[in-house]
Every structure is written in structure tokens, then in C-alpha cells.
Amino acid sequence: MSETPKPDELFSNIDYRPPSSGWMDTPVDIKKGIYSYAGNPKSLEYVGLPFARQWNPIDEDWSLPENWKEIISKGFRERLDRFRSIKVFMDICVRCGACADKCHFFIGSGDPKNMPVLRAELLRSVYRNDFTTAGKIIGSIGKNFKKIIGARELDLQVLKEWWYYLFQCTECRRCSVFCPYGIDTAEITIMGRELLNLIGLNIDWIITPVANCYRTGNHLGIQPHAYKDMMDFFSDDIEEITGVKVEPSFNRKGAEILFVTPSGDVFADPGTYTCVGYMMLFHYLQEKYGFDITWSTYASEGGNFGFFTSHEMMKRLNAKMYAEAKRLGVKWIIGGECGHMWRVIHQYMDTMNGPADFLEEPVSPITGTKFENAKSTKMVHIAEFTADLIKHNKLELDTSRNDHLKVTYHDSCNTSRGMGLLEEPRYVIKNVCNNYYEMPVNTIREQTFCCGSGSGLNAGENMELRMQGGLPRANAVKYVHEKHGVNMLSCICAIDRAALSASVEYWVPEVEVTGVHEMVGNALILPGEHKRTTDLRSEPLPGMEDDDAE
């Protein structure tokens, strides 16, 4: 982060005045700190994507295939035919501007091409030119008339502009909430990125995790023996903190339930503490109620960066969830705290890789609750599962062990806007800790602000962009920090846990980031545990210090 401007500087540099030239006449300026590095050709090759090559976004020459315009044009046509939604979204925008100031990247950068309407217009202008009757007729009169109907030809500058701005959208869909027509700008970004992938223009932070995931089952490239070793480390941690030995099982055939979570949870803090929380919960349930769950070192990734590449890649990477469920013969699946993972599961998986008719409709073996909402996917979010346990008084909790925390909750874009999971995480948090404060209403639930680094933009080289995009969320965190003394920002997404850790440290350094199940783990009283003197981070619990140590 060494070259990123300091917060004050970044904040005072935001300029909402648009340039004096019209948007079509303002050439794209690809800036360091904003763009992400080009995809590693080896990763593209690994998953069979076309035109793998070394190229640099700031070079004039992108080494494009000679017929790139033809490829894009054909791809555009195919997608207009395939996705009715895209055709409608291309046609119906009246450019009212209701979305303009709803995007975190526009708010944090002031760059007008980050207004969702204008970002979409970058593609729509080419659509008008190439695929509408008006565009064809007016275009035949003369090039200068095109602008009247908002049309323009696709050329290298336009392509570069697409690339630059489509990788400045996190597909969070906050803009769609405010669109009177319900235009889903995320879908426009998704399609635009698909087109770019046809000519080898992905970013490395997406395509290398995709290649890793295809090879090892997870984005980080963790192999089975390493996955097991990492979990063993957490087991030792749990034993030190609680005195209880937890022994999760892996790839176990005949287990009742399969658990799938993002790989970030087993690798990086603070996600690792969330993972520890899951392990403790499952152990508790096993001891008390004979709960029967297995982890998988093959379906070792809940997230799906294929979703940020193309529909086909998403399908390919997602397939392992049902495949592993089938192989192990489980009845249904629980999924961990993740964001875009749930958009894929909730909105695509069933029709894409299902029907999973070899699985049963999920019923909690402990409470008997039937998860009607997961009837077709057969996959239940752990926040729903845990909320149901608490509702039925199945967990013994000592909430005072979270008393050092003043907590707020960040709705992950995909679980809130993508699947309507609004109450369950809040219900869990309020039952495991005593100090909970909401951020302002226009920044939570379906209006939640993105972490600023979703949809594959959580790289290092684009840190200025990430801090710009993280500003609106951090600003709401700052508000509750100043008003209520909030010191912990909770979330149910692995990307959030990594992204918010950086943006909150930058904008509101007094606040830390946690997953919800870390707080569950803090409060949960394991059978046979000794007196706890620390939380799951091995930090001393105020008022519960070890008497023996004195």
C-alpha cells in the first residue's frame, strides 16, 4: 500500500465536477493504482481460455488478435440472443440518472464513468451502433450523426475503456435497487467481461485463482494434505483455548451433511477465526446431538471466480459441490460464510449443475426445521442453520465472552441483495453478543454498500481503487464508531473479511473485522471445556484473566 495516497489526500482529491469534454470525447486514461494486472497467460492456458499472452494494460499495444472486432461483435450478438435480460437492459435505460450517485466507486472517485448509467453506456453505445435499426440507418448517413443517438463504433480506445471500467465494477447491484426499470448493471458487467475474455483480456487476480481452483479445488491452490494441516493447526488452537480436542473429518463417505466454505477461511486472518468458529460449532453439535458432518478437501472452495469470467467457467468450477455430495453420499449441504458463493448457489447452481435429485430436501437433524428456501438447491447457509439452532434453544452460550466487542454488521452484497439473507445473521449476532449497533439505514440490508473489492477486484496493485470504493462503507462504520464506540465490524463473506480489513484499517483504523461464527465460537460453551481466559484470537478476555498466572 506504500504508493497509495494517504486517506486525507485521497478524500480531498475526490472531484465530482465532470470534465469539460463530452464523455465520448474524453479518452480513457488507465491509471496506476486503479487498474489490475493482466492475467498470467499460464493461467489462461490452464483452463483453455483463448489468446493467452503477455500484455500490459498501460502499453499502447495490447497484442490483440487481428480479428478482435469480429470476435467481440459475434460474441455480443450471441449474448443478445441468449440472454433476454441483456437485450432488455440495452434497450430500456432512459438515462434518468437515479443510479448515478449510488455506486461506491463513483462516490469514492468522482469519475463520471463510474456512474452505473455511464458504465453501461460504454457498451450500450456500441450496441446502438451495431445492433439497432436506428444505429444502422443513422450510421449510413454519416459518422458525425451517430452521437445524436448515443451510438459509436467499437475501436481500440473503446475496448480499453470497457476493460478499464468493467474492472471497476464489483457487480454489487446497489445501483439496481434504485433503478426504476430494475436494470441490473451487474449483468451488463458480467456480459462485458465475458466479451473481454473472448480475446484474452482478464485480470490476474481473477484468472489465476480460477486456474488454481480448477487444479486443486480452491482459489488458493491448497492441496489436500495442506488443507488438513491447516485445520490441524486450528484444532490445536481450540484445544489451547478451551481444553477441548476437536477432530473434524474430511472426505468421509456416508456422512449426513457436507460442509463447503471459502478457502480464505482456512488461510488468512481474520477468516481463520471464523473457521475455528465453525469447527467448534460442529464439534458441539456432534457431542450433544450426534451431528454428522464432513469437510471436503476437493470441494474445498465455496467461492467461484469463474463467475467473474464467464457463465461457462462458473458452471465448471461450481460442479464440484454436487459432484462431491454425490460421491460421499451425503443428504444435503451446508455452506459457510461467503458472498458471491451464495449468489452462484442461490441463483445459478440448481439449473446450471442440478437438479440435485440425489440429495434430500434439507432438514436440520437437531431441530427438525425444514429449510424450504433450499428445497431445490439442497444447500443451506450456515447463518440460517445457526439462527435456527439458537431459536430452538439448542446452543449453550456465554454472551459475556463477547462483551469486549461493540459490534456492527456489514451485509454482504450477494447474501443481502442476491438472496435476501437479512435477518438470520443479525439474529445470530444479537444472541451471541450484548452490544450491537446498526449502521445508518441507507447503508445496510438491501441498500448495503459494497466492501469495495468484490467480484475479483481484491488485488494489491489496484489499492487506490479499493480504498475509493471502500469509502462509503467505511464512512458508515466510522459513524457508528464515533457515535457508539463500535470496535468490531462483522460480516458473512470471506472477501469482505479480507477487503474490509484493508479498507477499515485505512479509513477507520480503530475498528477490526470478524466473521459471525467467530463470535459464535467465543460464546459457545463446549462440553467439558476449561475456563477460558482468551478469545479465539488468543487475546485476553477482560475480567476473565487466568487466576493462576497472577
Binding site: M1, S2, E3, T4, Y37, D204, W205, T208, P209, N212, H219, L220, G221, I222, Q223, H225, A226, D229, M230, F233, G264, V266, F267, A268, D269, G271, T272, N458, A459, G460, E461, M463, A498, S501, A502, S538
Partner: protein, 113 residues
């Protein structure tokens, strides 16, 4: 790129990672630590060497970047040992002569870009 130091020829890639795992030894570590601006002492302190050796063993076994607090726990140092000793875990990784981690690893641990 070749780094001339204490009569060693060290073969690094464009981003400063040692090309061959087996080219590493304690003198190479000293040279790399000097290049990275971490230390001009040779041999390196015991605390640093323990971290480097653990990272190498871990990589050799798992081809993966370890959980940072697991590194510190294994070498019996404080939880933030990689930050305290290097002060960037990715620099420690480079001095340990290991190849560039996958970009998601780099983004998920706190380090200078």
C-alpha cells in the same frame, strides 16, 4: 537478473524471487536480506533463520504459503513474528528463496504492495 554478493551468483526472476529452490543456503539468505533492505548481518539472527527454515520446510511439504500465525507458533515466537522480524511476510518468503505466491495469497495477508 544476477545479484553479486559475497562471491555468490544468485539467479532471481524479474520480481526478485529465487528461481531454483535448491540454490538456497544461509549465505544466499544473507545476500537476499541485504538486497531487500532487511539486514546486512551475516549470518542472520537465529529468530529470522528459524522463520525462513520453517517456511522452506513448509513449502517443500505443501507447496503452499503457511498461515502466518502458524509459522510463529511453530518457531515459538510471538504471533506477529514475521512482521516484527522482516517486517513483511512476503519479503521473508523471498529471502527464504521461495517462488512468488498466488495473487490471492498476496491480497489476503497484510503486506506492502
Amino acid at each position: 537478473m544476477t545479484l553479486e554478493h559475497i562471491d555468490l551468483n544468485i539467479d532471481l526472476d524479474d520480481e526478485g524471487y529465487l528461481r531454483k529452490f535448491e540454490d538456497w543456503n544461509e549465505n544466499v539468505a544473507c545476500a537476499l536480506a541485504d538486497k531487500e533492505g532487511v539486514s546486512q548481518e551475516c549470518p542472520l539472527t537465529q529468530e529470522r533463520m528459524e522463520i525462513l527454515k520453517f517456511m522452506r520446510d513448509y513449502y517443500n511439504k505443501f507447496e503452499a504459503f503457511p498461515i502466518l500465525r502458524a509459522v510463529c507458533k511453530n518457531v515459538k515466537q510471538t504471533k506477529d513474528c514475521t512482521y516484527q522480524q522482516f517486517p513483511d511476510p512476503v519479503i521473508a518468503w523471498r529471502i527464504a528463496g521461495l517462488p512468488k505466491p498466488t495473487p490471492e495469497v498476496l491480497a489476503k495477508i497484510k503486506h506492502d504492495v
